[in-house]
């Protein structure tokens, strides 16, 4: 589904290389986790994959569902099913959560040539998912993320994800800011989305989240590339031993 080959990316007009020949293949149906020390390039990877400005790809390629991902605009990538759960979700003042989401959902549907989702269908779906994630209906009427706690913002990212039903999910430090109960609720939501047509890339600093969302593969990202890989148990070993062995 996602094939990253020798990806190299710089910032500040090439002054700093963040990703340095990173290669990673994620087949459909699999959940991969990326762990690693601070500053290894984990968030940069998520931004380069989703097309944020400010990063120059100087080498390598990314193929997503057979397409050249790096040639696509951010909204085209989103429409093609790529979703990023942000580490720091943005506040959108004056735009109620439901309005934001419905606008986004219908923009995506339109780009794919589908009809907009009807209002009753949208409301029904939103209510069900909100209830699963224990999000109070009141919150959906408030401007998106404005005045929400860190945990509420993260939960709202998962809400959006479940509403948009993306194919390739990238979660950047989704567990930070969540207490144990919230973590379990979020993990249940994510696990419900696991399926043969969908792939996930979970970026996390701690192993804790991986107790709830058990990955197929775990990779260590250090100095801009994947330096080690293993199965779910590998994450536990990393947690116990730290990343020192992989740092430069």
């Amino acid at each position: 589904m996602l094939k990253i080959n020798n990806l190299t990316a710089t910032v500040n007009d090439g002054a700093q290389t963040i990703l340095n020949g990173l290669s990673l293949h994620i087949p459909a149906g699999e959940v991969h986790a990326i762990m690693g020390p601070n500053g290894a390039g984990k968030s940069t990877l998520s931004y380069v994959l989703t097309g944020k400005d400010g990063y120059d790809v100087t080498d390598g390629s990314v193929e997503y569902l057979g397409q050249d991902l790096l040639a696509m605009q951010p909204e085209e990538r989103a429409t093609a099913g790529m979703f990023l759960s942000f580490q720091y979700p943005l506040e959108i003042p004056g735009v109620p959560t439901m309005t934001f989401l419905r606008t986004a959902l219908n923009a995506q549907r339109k780009s794919r040539g589908d009809k907009p989702m009807s209002a009753p269908d949208f409301l029904k779906k939103a209510r069900e998912i909100a209830s699963d994630l224990k999000i109070k209906p009141d919150m959906l009427k408030r401007p998106l993320n404005v005045g929400f706690s860190g945990g509420e913002k993260k939960r709202m990212e998962i809400f959006q994800m479940m509403m948009l039903e993306p194919k390739m999910i990238i979660m950047d430090e989704t567990d930070s800011g969540l207490d144990v109960d919230a973590l379990r609720i979020v993990a249940d939501g994510v696990n419900a989305l696991r399926g043969p047509e969908r792939a996930m890339l979970i970026i996390t600093h701690y192993q804790r989240l991986l107790d709830y969302i058990v990955p197929d593969r775990v990779h260590v990202l250090a100095d801009g590339k994947i330096v080690a890989s293993g199965d779910a148990d590998f994450a536990k070993k990393l947690e116990a031993e730290g990343y020192d062995a992989y740092a430069a």
């Binding site: 003042p93 004056g94 735009v95 419905r102 986004a104």
Partner: protein, 500 residues
């Protein structure tokens, strides 16, 4: 219920998005010029022109005298220069002061007699002039009575008869001068006197048309009243004058809309609006101003120098100004409230968007004279391109205005790094019991927010429209629903091409 509301709001966003798409090709869709035979007064301004306009309107002597006095006064006045706007000197002799569609000379008796080309112009503008068409619209859609003004004359006023049944008078001002002289003489010029300021005095001398509204005591006007102003003739100034009187315990909601063709030259628009609110009455006045702002190089566009003022004469009277200003090359406009009656209140909600080379110096004045008067100012300024915008507002309390309260919030949003936003508040209190609060913020449309929206599937322009509409939400919520849709579309269209 709340969910239905949400859906309604969503529909607006969808509309916004559609509005942008529809206009990708030509940004200013009202820029067409209509090929209609026009009758002009000779170019230039002198006493004879003033007499000519008055004669065209078949006015009584008192009206002509009033105009001539104003003209004599105007000759002694100087154009104000304190506003933060910059434009070449205006040659007042190089403009026409009267233009009228020729075929309309004897005045149409019904719509069937109106020049079909003219009807087409209004159809293009999306303004329903045929009542049956309005009635044939969506079930439950609110009906709006319309007065359509084309250059210097009123073309048609709809729903007149139905309004007359409840005693509401809604007609062109020139008609009111003839049919209701007692009302016009009693109120005209009592809020904005002929000597008020350079542009208002000019207007008094040469105003050619406008709307007149009178709501009798205790009547709640059964529908929205609306005037659409359209400048069409080349080299012509537009000087309309609107007078609205809400008698004791009455209520009216009024909307003004304006558009003009795209032209290389600058056109002058100097209007006067006077509102008189008696005891326990309320006027809600909304403006969607979309005069041609000039092209991408800053060439052409309307100079919009307007004096709007409301006099809350009676106890517990109320005025609410809501404006969405997206057009004009230069805007110089301060809709104000004189809070004379005890317990009266004034509100000013404004969205001003400038793009390209537009300049706007706009705000309000809240003059507290009576006891326990209240006012509220919410101003949202959005600057993009190379435009410059100033909020200028006065809040004052007379020494008798005990217990006066004001809340002011001025928010500015900058898009790009070549535009400017300025806030100039004037606060004067002569009573210790007045409570005035002022809040101001300036922010930039963030790249991070834009990326977040795009990651969810919105195009860059849709994302800007959504974020700006969010920024303006407090004000948009105060517009009548059907106009909120129009305003949101305008917001999107005005900012097209402002990023990337």
């Amino acid at each position: 219920m709340a969910e239905i509301k949400t859906i309604a709001k969503d529909a607006i966003v969808t509309e916004t998005v559609k509005g942008v798409e529809a206009l990708e090709a030509d940004k200013y869709k009202y820029g067409f010029e209509s090929d209609i035979e026009q009758e002009f007064a000779p170019k230039g301004l002198n006493e004879d022109i003033v007499r000519f306009i008055s004669a065209k309107k078949d006015e009584p002597d008192w009206m002509l005298e009033w105009r001539l006095d104003a003209y004599a006064r105007w000759l002694t006045m100087k154009e104000p220069t304190w506003a933060m706007v910059d434009y070449p000197e205006i040659d007042y002799q190089d403009s026409y002061y009267y233009a009228a569609p020729k075929s309309d000379k004897d005045g149409p008796k019904s719509l069937d007699e109106v020049d079909p080309d003219l009807l087409e112009v209004y159809a293009k503008l999306g303004i329903p002039l045929r009542e049956q068409e309005v009635l044939a619209g969506v079930q439950g859609a609110p009906r709006v009575a319309v007065d359509a003004v084309f250059d210097s004359v009123s073309v048609v006023t709809t729903f007149k008869e139905e309004l007359a049944k409840v005693g509401v008078i809604f007609c062109p001002l020139s008609e009111a001068v003839k049919n209701h002289p007692e009302l016009v003489r009693k109120y005209l010029g009592t809020v904005v006197p002929p000597t008020d300021n350079f542009f208002a005095t000019l207007n008094t001398a040469v105003f050619s048309e406008g709307s007149f509204v009178y709501i009798p005591p205790g009547v709640r006007c059964p529908m929205e009243l609306s005037t659409y102003f359209r400048m069409n003739a080349q080299g012509t100034g537009q000087f309309e004058r609107t007078l609205i009187i809400a008698d004791k315990g009455s209520y009216v909601s009024y909307l003004e809309g304006c558009t003009a063709p795209m032209r290389d030259e600058n056109q002058l628009h100097a209007a006067v609006v006077e509102l008189i609110v008696l005891e326990d009455a309320e006027i809600k006045y909304s403006t969607v101003q979309n005069w041609w702002p000039g092209d991408a190089e800053g060439k052409g566009g309307v100079y919009n120098f307007v004096t709007k003022r409301a006099d809350c004469r009676g106890k517990n009277s109320k005025v609410s100004w809501t404006q969405v200003e997206t057009g004009s090359a230069i805007t110089w406009k301060y809709p104000s409230c004189i809070l004379r009656g005890d317990g009266s209140s004034g509100e000013f909600y404004s969205i001003a968007i400038t793009n390209g080379f537009q300049q706007a110096d706009t705000g309000t004045k809240m003059i507290h004279l009576g006891k326990n008067t209240r006012s509220r100012i919410i101003s949202k300024g959005i600057s993009a391109g190379k435009s410059n915008q100033t909020y200028r507002g006065l809040v004052s309390a007379h020494k008798k205005a005990t217990g006066a309260r004001n809340f002011t919030q001025c928010d500015s949003l900058l898009i790009g790094d070549q535009c400017g936003a300025h806030t100039v508040p004037y606060i004067e209190s002569n009573t210790p019991s007045a409570q005035f609060e002022h809040e101001a913020t300036t922010s930039k449309l963030s790249e991070e927010q834009l990326f977040y929206c795009r990651q969810r599937g919105l195009s860059e322009e849709d994302a800007v429209a959504l974020l700006v509409n969010g920024f303006c939400r407090d004000v948009l919520q105060n517009l009548p629903m059907e106009f909120a849709v129009e305003a949101q579309k305008l917001v999107a269209i005005s900012l097209e091409g402002s990023v990337g």
